[in-house]
């Protein structure tokens, strides 16, 4: 029996890349448990879209957020209770479109959350419009003549913003993806994993990805090399593209405090107010 599953009926299309992400994530969770992480300490959040259904399929606590905001929700959860390992699932529309500011700022402040981006280059649940990572010329219901916009490289952007962990994975390489996810969650600081997710209904990229993904064994030693790797479109490096250490946001801000465990008592509040009002 799969004790990480819920009774929710799975409604992803047969063959969807999300199945691979779900299975890889479960593997990652089990590996983390082997390493001593308690399952109850993992909290998840998700945006809105096909990716987000993963929230219902995982027997983990958390907050099913709204489109583009799971990264903000996750940061709030982490700040209130830094003991939690917080994972935000997001689609490419969530993370790189609607909620891009939260990604940039989470990276900038090195918020200790993990963002797993189900990047399928398509708005699947709204029937196939182009996204920030769709190729120029992409034809969808909102761009019937083909999109006139160039996509950007999300990981290059995240690196520029200061991400201390940038990974890429592919559900077609399940164990490899599980490894990247586990390492991302274990990383202290902001970690993003851009998952190349084929959408069988609107953007079937299995063939292209099977031909172009390359597993990298070693994380580049320099930021410049990592950045160059993140920008490559023809050859898609998968693995941990960049990992470094920087002061972590909640530690700097909270100085070791756990807000939900150190709530002020009524007596303390009374005293603090009286002290403040002392002439």
């Amino acid at each position: 029996m799969d004790d990480l599953a819920t009774y929710a009926e799975n409604t992803w299309c047969p063959g969807c890349g999300n199945f691979g992400i779900l299975n890889a994530f479960k593997k990652a969770v089990r590996r983390l448990e082997d390493e001593g992480v308690q399952r109850r300490d993992i909290a998840i959040t998700a945006g809105i879209g096909c990716h987000a259904k993963i929230f219902d399929y995982l027997d983990l606590s958390g907050f099913y957020s709204i489109h583009g905001r799971s990264m903000a929700t996750a940061q709030g959860m982490k700040l209130a209770n830094p003991r939690l390992k917080v994972v935000a699932f997001a689609g490419d529309g969530d993370a790189y479109g609607e909620g891009i500011a939260h990604m940039v700022f989470a990276a900038k402040r090195n918020a200790d959350i993990t963002v797993i981006v189900h990047n399928n280059g398509i708005y699947g649940l709204t029937t196939g419009q182009y996204t920030p990572t769709s190729k120029k010329g992409f034809r969808g219901p909102s761009t019937p003549e083909g999109s006139v916009e160039e996509p950007f490289s999300p990981l290059a952007l995240m690196l520029s913003a200061g991400a201390t962990f940038a990974g890429r994975g592919y559900p077609g390489r399940l164990d490899h993806l599980a490894d990247v996810l586990a390492r991302a969650i274990s990383h202290e600081g902001f970690s993003v994993v851009d998952v190349l997710q084929p959408c069988v209904s609107f953007n079937n990229t299995y063939e292209r990805y099977n031909a172009s993904v390359v597993e990298i064994d070693e994380t580049p030693g320099s930021f410049e090399d990592a950045y160059r790797l993140a920008c490559e479109f023809d050859r898609l490096a998968i693995g941990v593209l960049w990992q470094t250490e920087k002061p972590v946001y909640h530690k700097e801000l909270l100085q070791g405090k756990v807000p939900v465990e150190e709530r002020q008592s009524t007596g303390q509040r009374r005293q603090a107010i009286a002290a403040l009002l002392q002439p």
Binding site: D41, F55, S61, G76, A80
Partner: protein, 555 residues
């Protein structure tokens, strides 16, 4: 009729003349003498230049408003002289900066504020110190008392400030030829702005974390809490946008931190999608909405009550919203604390609706020890088979927070009791009705307390709300007018039950809105017959003398 004991000080100048600080210091002076104080700052959205003024009214009796006509007007530049020379009360004195004005003004006293400040660093900023010194001379404060007072109030270069103050004081004393004697009173010595009180009330009501992005006139809640975060044992976060503010706050609340957010209309508009998320996910959150004239950017540093409909209807979809609007600084403290409690007891968003006039005006107050904190949140003891959205009879599902052995799922989607997404018509109905029952429970709770305040026992009926209540009460006192004043403290759920005895009565409405949103609300929700509306929508708070005149016409 003028309260003979009342004394009003008005200081005006450019931004950068220390006008605001001067008003604060004057207010402190009056408060130290046991007088009640109401201080209102009128300033523009700029950092240097322009025109600012601060009005400080004080009396041994409680004062609920600034009076524009002052007993001492100090104009630090030519524009201030032009704008405020007519703002003298009977027997009032006008003092102007003779260095900034070419002509000699008959009946007024010119003092060389700028020349006297020459030789000191940041000479322009000293002018406000000079204004306080003239006040000290006018109200008969002893020379050494002023010196000690200035040293205490102006920490930076207190020596230079004291020397400058005394030079102005000596000249003013000689020029004015005598002083007025101000009666001491026994007013409380604590002076707070509405936003200070809101910040403290939120804390008294259980605040653990405050999230906000700066926007006038709500910013000073953020500044106050950030400045005192250490002493209060709370966490204050200023993220990238109001959207981040609200979503981070909800995330924090979902794991058990009592959170609040605050902004003005534009910022709250950005939070609105997540306000609806709070409604669906049943996440407790308190939002401070401090209004300024809109629409859009509007007039950032002035006052209005034009966000009433916006506040009442925050968030798409149907869910329980709580909106309350305090009248005074003290009430702001109580309401803030109570809204924190109500949001947690009923797991729904609440809005403290206020306006620049209360947020930034400063009053003498006595805060209650700890205000009524209201009902306690319902917590789950079920650690084995927890359901976040259990179909509780009163609609309030017990709370539990991650980490937990039994999982806790909060969600934006319609959901079953466990928090798993549903599209099943029966489950949708169940949950809609559960949330609706929760609103009923909230209404039942509100019926157990007074949600509407009443002042005065006889005379015509005036209905008003928010800080305009203070303007109305002060105007009635000033005009010696008899009226009953009714102020709904809670605006959503609207306490219709407390208006039952007023059905069919004629009433006058006073509000700071052009469209008359509050008038419309009363017409819709009560059987009151609104016969006249006294409206003001120029961004300025009512002046009691002027308002008394307008009320006389309609009473």
């Amino acid at each position: 009729m003028k309260d003979s004991q009342r004394f009003t000080f008005l200081v005006a100048g450019e931004a950068g003349h220390g006008v605001r600080r001067s008003g604060i210091v004057a207010a402190d002076l009056f408060a130290e003498w046991g007088r009640y104080v109401f201080q209102m700052d009128d300033y523009q959205s700029l950092i240097r230049g322009g025109h600012n003024f601060s009005v400080v009214s004080s009396s041994p009796q409680p004062v609920l408003s600034q009076y524009l006509n002052a007993d001492l007007v100090i104009a630090l530049d030519a524009r201030s002289l032009e704008k405020h020379r007519q703002h003298l009360s009977e027997g009032g004195i006008l003092v102007y900066n003779s260095d900034a004005v070419d002509e000699t003004i008959p009946g007024a006293i010119g003092l060389p504020f700028s020349s006297l400040a020459k030789g000191y660093s940041q000479a322009a900023l000293r002018l406000g110190v000079g204004a306080v010194s003239v006040l000290a001379a006018r109200v008969g404060m002893a020379r050494d008392a002023l010196e000690e007072f200035i040293v205490r109030e102006y920490e930076r270069d207190s020596e230079g400030n004291a020397a400058y103050a005394l030079s102005v004081y000596d000249m003013a004393t000689a020029e004015m030829g005598g002083s007025v004697s101000l009666a001491r009173g026994d007013a409380p010595a604590t002076l707070l702005t509405g936003n200070d009180a809101i910040a403290l009330g939120t804390y008294a009501g259980g605040l653990d974390m405050y999230f906000a992005y700066p926007m006038t006139p709500a910013s000073s809640v953020l500044h106050y809490l950030a400045a005192h975060a250490g002493e209060l044992g709370i966490t204050v976060v200023h993220p990238e946008s109001e959207i981040a503010v609200m979503n981070m706050a909800l995330g924090a609340a979902s794991v058990g931190a009592r959170t609040a957010v605050g902004s003005s209309g534009g910022g709250v508009a950005l939070m609105e999608e997540a306000m609806s998320l709070a409604g669906m996910s049943e996440t407790p959150i308190m939002c401070i909405l401090s209004s300024r004239p809109g629409p859009s950017t509007g007039v950032p540093t002035y006052t209005a009550q034009a966000d009433l409909s916006f506040a009442l209807n925050q968030g798409h979809g149907e869910f329980a919203r709580i909106v309350a609007s305090p009248a005074t600084v003290e009430e702001a403290y109580r309401v803030a604390a109570e809204l924190m409690a109500l949001s947690w007891a009923f797991q729904t968003p609440s809005i403290l609706l206020t306006e620049k006039h209360l947020s930034e005006s400063r009053m003498t107050v006595t805060l209650p020890d700890l205000p009524c904190q209201g009902p306690e949140p319902v917590l789950s003891t079920n650690s084995q088979d927890y359901s976040r959205y259990e179909d509780a009879p009163d609609g309030v599902s017990p709370l539990r927070f991650a980490p937990s052995d039994s999982i806790v799922k909060w969600t934006s989607y319609e959901h079953d009791e466990k928090g798993i997404t549903t599209e099943d018509p029966d489950v949708i109905t169940l949950m809609q009705e559960k949330r609706h029952r929760k609103r009923d429970s909230l209404v039942e709770h509100l019926k157990s307390r007074s949600c509407v305040k009443r002042f005065g026992g006889s005379g015509p009926l005036i209905v008003t709300y928010g800080s305009t209540t203070m303007s109305v009460l002060e105007a009635l006192a000033y005009g010696n007018l008899e009226a009953r004043v009714v102020q709904p403290l809670f605006l959503e759920p609207f306490p219709e039950w407390e208006f039952a005895d007023l059905q069919g009565d004629d009433a006058i409405v006073v509000e700071q809105s052009c469209d008359g949103q509050f008038t419309e609300l009363l017409r819709r929700r009560t059987g009151i017959n609104v016969v006249a509306a006294v409206l003001q929508y120029d961004g300025r708070p009512f002046d009691p003398e002027e308002l008394a005149g307008r009320l006389k016409e309609v009473l």
